[in-house]
Symmetry: C4
Subunit: 171 residues, 4 copies
């Protein structure tokens, strides 16, 4: 899915020049892995599959399929403002699609299902699109600020769930 271009030249400078592309690749790999992991855990609790869930799933897949494109555009342009903002938008869309998918699944399974219970208030899920949007806006001010926001959201999902959930719940 994600692609990594081979640098021109055969020395360390060529490798160093590929650093922005590589950083973008790492970040997107982590995001896709988080979706893959959450998808795996979430669908483990799904009992019934209907048409709206299949379409919500394909809708999510559509936005995820744009991430490699946004990743390459940001990396190849060394975190220039517009591509870095576009990357943030490319993260907002699957985050919203994930919310739509959750809604479709919970509607079918009921608010009292094990699935709805496991999800709880889902603060991280609701906070993430807002943070991505903040990152996208910050891209026009400072590329590093935008990048930091993107990395922080990734870390927020990487750190074991319950502890962070409680922390965010308190904050």
């Amino acid at each position: 899915m994600l692609e990594l271009k081979v640098p021109h030249g055969d020395d360390l400078a060529a490798l160093a020049g590929a650093a922005p592309v590589f950083l973008s690749y790492v970040l997107s790999f982590v995001y896709v892995a988080i979706y893959w992991n959450n998808h795996h855990h979430f669908f483990h609790l799904v009992r019934r599959v209907d048409g709206s869930m299949l379409w919500a799933n394909l809708h999510l897949l559509f936005w995820l399929s744009l991430i490699p494109f946004a990743t390459a555009w940001m990396g190849e342009n060394r975190f220039a403002p517009v591509p870095t903002a576009a990357y943030g938008i490319a993260l907002v869309m699957p985050a919203l699609a994930w919310q739509v998918l959750q809604f479709a699944i919970i509607r079918t399974h009921g608010r009292d299902s094990a699935l709805a219970q496991a999800l709880g208030r889902d603060l991280k899920g609701k906070l993430s699109p807002l943070l991505y949007l903040t990152g996208a806006l910050l891209a026009f001010v400072d590329a590093w600020a935008a990048g930091t926001v993107y990395v922080v959201v990734a870390l927020m999902w990487l750190v074991p769930d319950r502890r962070i959930e409680r922390m965010v719940g308190r904050a």
Copy 2:
């Protein structure tokens, strides 16, 4: 399967220039998703798999495998007449291959099978290749007319089945 080229340049103009490629991508993603979804539903009812079904399936896969090619050609040439017509033909072929696959499956399962019943008269399936062909011919008159036909067929399949079926049945 579908590919999206990274635009040259790092500003909004570069992104806007990628609009035709992006529109083609969205349209083809929807078509492939519809096939994937229908395939999933249809094969759910399949009880026996024989050689002719396997070959009819690979025949369908062959024509589907050409869609990314036709998509890129149309998008990169900004809906020029010949590529836009070729895209229509690239949609006619899997639509016909789908009819062949249906025929192979129903022959094995019998006209009275749950599968044949679920399919009904399949007006949408029989209408689609004719509409794609109309779109392909319109491409030589006006790109937007052709595009509108392609979008209408996609919407015809996206809207929940029974209602549209009844509407088309009445018309």
Copy 3:
């Protein structure tokens, strides 16, 4: 797996120029489909999987993975002698790897197994590498002669099995 390059230009001449690439694509798609189909049928009868079978399978996969490369080289060079001969060699290798895989499977299952019986004398399997080699040699004389041999072997596998087997058996 197989790739089809988007032609430069937006007219019928551009499409016609892509004909050799397209023909190569069709031929290779058919070959890969035949392998996929036979693999599916054959492994349906496999009862035990051991290490040698896994490696023989990966060995087959290696040679199959080179077919897209040989296909593109032949198509992009419009059936020039060396690429057309290389394509023949690229077909010889998986055909031999298939024989090795069959041998590994039959050794484990025994000469009297349903699998060994289903295979019979396997005249087509033994004839194919020789025919591909003939095609590769003919490529230096005439591209069409080589192409004809490649198409004939594909047809030999596409036509329902038993009849052809009997025909070849008689000849």
Copy 4:
């Protein structure tokens, strides 16, 4: 996953020019096949899957996903020192990630599990990262020396397990 570029030109010289790219491709195909094979065997004995195992698995997948990149860089630069050393590092990382995955799995299953027994002291697994690192350092002295080390490690894994294990055990 791995990609093989089509050579420019249609003669034997063009094919010969692609030799370094092809050699890199073969080597990496073998490495990926070994990982795939070991992964298959190892997970066959896994009884419980938990979060840390899923993440350790994705971590391994990340480093494996860089191998095509390192392979192409080394091949296209005809085994120049820096790309050849980078290739060695690209092999060190998944080898370490494999150790982390093993550790995560054994921690869950216990030191007395069939899985831990099957693994034994795992001399090959512990030796491999050291050998890859040696190869990476040798790349700055002589490309062939580095290549030889990479090939030897591949062979060490290809040869049936127990015999080599005993040999290395004695040495």
